[in-house]
Symmetry: C2
Subunit: 430 residues, 2 copies
């Protein structure tokens, strides 16, 4: 198995000004082709430190990926250090990257200065992968025996947007130069289980996995747990069918908890269903304060099926805009199944949507005397029925809002599925 090290260069990470998200992006991309990341290192814009750290990483690893330190300003000294490290005698201008420098600056209405043109100059010891999103090229140093074994260093720009966009090219280059074999992945999105509970539930299946199949848990507050199944180094279609067989077993164990086999978020899956069926959606949010609506509208094209929301933070808005009866609020309390149901029904009525979802609860800090902090009632209303469900979480305010919102989306998704399948059976029996 190939070993990699990921190095970030730049004082802005060391002083805590920015969080390093590049390293985890890169290690996931490497993992996806079966390469293990052995270390991650962050160092400052200091030549001596760059030279000594990269020498060590190149000695210990097959692949070293460096991000950062490639901008046009004087702080960025990585390129000179890399030239020294690899014994470069001269710089050469890369025509493809130079063209990109002109293209990018002109598109921003800027002149190309000498300092910009210099971005296309690279040490003669490297090959270039053109960066299509920025002015600094990706440099590839194949160091051969320089560090005692064949090691390759990729130097990428540090802007996360540029790093993420250039990663596929780097991965392709790694694959072109190493015999990694065929790789198959499948991502299953699972909701409703904490990571540890999921691990327990699928332990017998996991213990019986064929040796070639690797499993990773990637949990996320807003999407549940992503289960990544991989087979590395395959040469035939055998591995693919192996994966499919294991996924079939998982489906039998987890059922509807698997909400996507295409790596989609909850809001994407809801959106796809609505788009395909021509149905529309509205929301009515109290304690989630707009987070559900925000999640839904992060999906491009959501205006095709999402009509809107009433965020009814004040009881007066619940009454006057959503039409929740004052008596219901009085008798049952704001945090109740009845108020949640009336909110969801109100949202459908005033927007004219097919479906709606509502929340009313206590994100915290503090409960209301009856319900503890972290309590939420969610209602989903369809043309057939309105259902309610209560959830309890124990997090801080912001995490509670996220958990409330994700739970509501998962509840909504399953009710839409049920309603659509009832529509289908109704059509069949006609």
């Amino acid at each position: 198995m190939l070993k990699a090290s990921i190095c970030t260069i730049g004082d802005e990470i060391l002083i805590g000004q920015v969080v390093d998200t590049n390293s985890s992006e890169i290690s996931r991309a490497l993992g996806s082709i079966g390469i293990r990341t052995s270390r991650m290192v962050s160092i400052g814009d200091d030549s001596q430190q760059i030279l000594s750290s990269l020498s060590k990483e190149l000695t210990d690893n097959d692949i070293v990926i460096v991000t950062g330190g490639l901008g046009p300003t004087k702080d960025d000294i990585t390129k000179a250090a890399l030239a020294t490290l690899t014994g470069s005698k001269a710089y050469t201008e890369h025509p493809g990257q130079l063209e990109m420098v002109y293209k990018i600056l002109h598109s921003r209405g800027l002149d190309v200065l000498d300092i910009n043109r210099a971005q296309a100059l690279v040490p003669d010891t490297c090959e270039v992968i053109v960066n299509h999103c920025g002015t600094a090229p990706i440099m590839v140093f194949r160091t051969d025996g320089l560090f005692g074994h064949p090691a390759t260093l990729y130097a990428m720009p540090g802007v996360p947007y540029e790093t993420v966009n250039a990663l596929p090219d780097v991965i392709e280059d790694i694959r072109a130069h190493h015999d990694i074999g065929a790789i198959f992945h499948r991502n299953l999105m699972v909701y409703g289980y904490a990571e540890s509970a999921l691990a327990k539930k699928i332990a017998p299946w996991e213990d019986a996995l064929p040796e070639e199949v690797h499993l990773a848990y990637l949990p996320n507050q807003l999407t549940g747990v992503r289960l990544r199944l991989s087979v590395y180094g395959g040469t035939t279609e055998h591995e693919k069918s192996l994966l499919e067989a294991e996924i079939a077993k998982l489906r039998a164990i987890l059922g509807d908890a698997i909400y996507s086999e295409d790596d989609d978020t909850l809001q994407h899956v809801v959106g796809k269903l609505l788009k395909a069926s021509g149905k529309t959606l509205s929301t009515a949010e109290s304690c989630t304060g707009g987070e559900i609506s925000h999640l839904i509208t992060t999906v491009p094209g959501s205006s095709e099926y999402y009509l809107g929301s009433v965020i009814s933070y004040a009881p007066s808005v619940k009454r006057e805009i959503l039409g929740v009866p004052a008596s219901t609020i009085e008798e049952k309390g704001v945090v109740s199944a009845e108020v949640a149901a009336a909110m969801a029904e109100g949202a459908r009525r005033i927007t004219g949507s097919d479906y709606s979802v509502s929340t009313t609860g206590l994100a915290g800090p503090g409960g209301d005397g009856v319900n503890p902090e972290g309590t939420v009632w969610v209602a989903v209303s369809t043309p057939r029925v309105t259902k309610t469900r209560k959830y309890n979480f124990r997090n801080d305010r912001i995490r509670n809002i996220e958990r409330f919102s994700a739970s509501a989306l998962f509840f909504l998704l399953n009710e839409i599925k049920e309603d659509l399948s009832l529509n289908e059976s109704a059509n069949e029996t006609k």
Copy 2:
């Protein structure tokens, strides 16, 4: 100046399962007492790697902060490695942490197993700082001459919530054992400038800063740029007045662009103003899809002044709930000053709030033929006036939504300030 290294231990970071946010939290906390972070390293749950990496970091640095690898499961081998590294002969049970183990597990309704009790066992070469948020203690190893100079290692749990909560205790311990002197900080929140434009604007002031005053730029999509001014190693009140004098100069340069001198976000400042004046707020969002409402409601206690929102994604919702005239939409287009103004006025009318803010625009991908992607009209309505403003950004959908929302909050903030000051002068002339 003291030098520090931050090490994270755990396969979950190396495989990219989680992004390491602890390291930047820690380096900022260290920076706040004038300690420079020289390196950050992430390594896996591997004894040999832990021993060799920590030996190197303790040799090169005065302070080494380790996070992760302290859970109760078999993967977590950091504690044993630390015992070996510091020549510990035995483990001792720490009564204070044991008490915390019982308290935490009982509060979750769980029994205390041997594996949990073992969390309070520590190598006899360390001192303990009790972790009040988790079962694993913070261990402090004062290695004296073991690595050629006096170096201290702090081992903290890796759960971000626990790390952040224990950091002040660690910082206090560092201060108690090192002669750092008095430290003064001030954070100024600035909106409306890109980091580079801000740097250019305040360059003459920055170049003339007294040597003792340090400046850091901490930019954020949702809050603008945080300018941190610090004086380290002071012994008198002289430094404090030095800071105040520099801040007074900055105020003259930046004016209202400085929206907080108390490290508050836009939504917190808006909330404080509303709370203090007893005024209320509503929103009407189209392209921001609920993000503004979400930001406002992340503030605890926001229900005191925030009534709610209408998210009018569909034109029908703009017309029927917010009362935007169909003719205005027809004649001016959905993305127009007139529609934004009618939305904001509609939100005030139907919720009865004093103030409101609205957005209508194109987060992308794609424009509408007239307006390019990234265009937004924002309106702010007060009892006196409704004002509109147009913004253009060039980001992806999600970043556009964030920029739209932050710009709208900043616009709102300044209009609230103006309205409140007009109220004051009206009262004075009565």
